[in-house]
């Protein structure tokens, strides 16, 4: 199955700045999800946006979805050192049984 791909692959920012990362996909989806992973262990779900939604907020997170361009963005506002992690997008593709994960985006927030 085709996977979401995040862009840029690695991002280094100063604490307090905003971090934006993008995800593109190739198929029709039911929803798109963003996850965070610290230290190469389990992933933590951040936010889910349905295919009929265009924008969603959760705390300092803002997710947009453009189904015409098959892309999504994740914005982390006022970043903190604790936001340092890998961020993955995952698409729930129509007709598939599972989420298709991208390769991840490494974000480093410098105190």
């Amino acid at each position: 199955s085709q996977q979401g791909e995040e862009d840029p692959q690695a991002l280094s920012i100063q604490e307090g700045e905003n971090a934006t990362m993008n995800c593109s996909y190739k198929t029709s989806i039911n929803n798109l999800q963003w996850y965070r992973q610290n230290s190469g262990r389990g992933l933590v779900h951040l936010i889910l946006i349905r295919s009929n939604e265009r924008e969603k907020h959760s705390g300092r997170l803002r997710v947009t979805l453009d189904t015409s361009k098959k892309s999504s963005s994740l914005l982390i506002t006022a970043s903190r050192a604790a936001d340092t992690a890998s961020y993955f997008c995952a698409t729930d593709e129509r007709g598939n049984n599972r989420l298709a994960f991208g390769k991840g985006n490494q974000v480093v927030v410098i105190p």
Partner: protein
């Protein structure tokens, strides 16, 4: 409530040995997934269980890999005759249903010497 748990946390084995990895999903979650993640890489889907339906095994990389889910709850991933390229973190996730949020366990880090 309790999250997804996996055991062991770490496993070191010799090439050619068999290993069993265990996953305890969140109670009541009908969907269970196994993924593999090599160093610095994304998640590679392995297998998916949904209720009493036949599992989706399309991601298993070879016939050395198998998994079962007993009683719709605990799952075991078995790797026979391990190879060095099997070294990775094996992640389990459960979900209330297909396409819903997945809740991940901490993973099992497997090292095949």
């Amino acid at each position: 409530g309790a999250g997804v748990s996996q055991s062991p946390s770490n496993k070191v084995t010799e090439k050619g040995k068999d290993v069993e990895l265990r996953c305890d999903p969140i109670s009541g979650h009908t969907a269970l997934y196994w993924y593999r993640q090599s160093l610095g890489q994304g998640l590679e889907f392995l297998i998916y269980f949904q209720g009493n339906s036949a599992p989706d095994k399309s991601g298993l990389p070879s016939d050395r890999f198998s998994a079962e889910r007993t009683g719709g709850s605990v799952s075991t991933l078995t790797i026979q005759r391990t190879q060095q390229e099997d070294s990775a973190v094996y992640l389990c996730a459960s979900s209330p249903g297909q396409g819903r949020t997945q809740y991940f366990g901490p993973g099992t880090r497997l090292l095949v010497l």
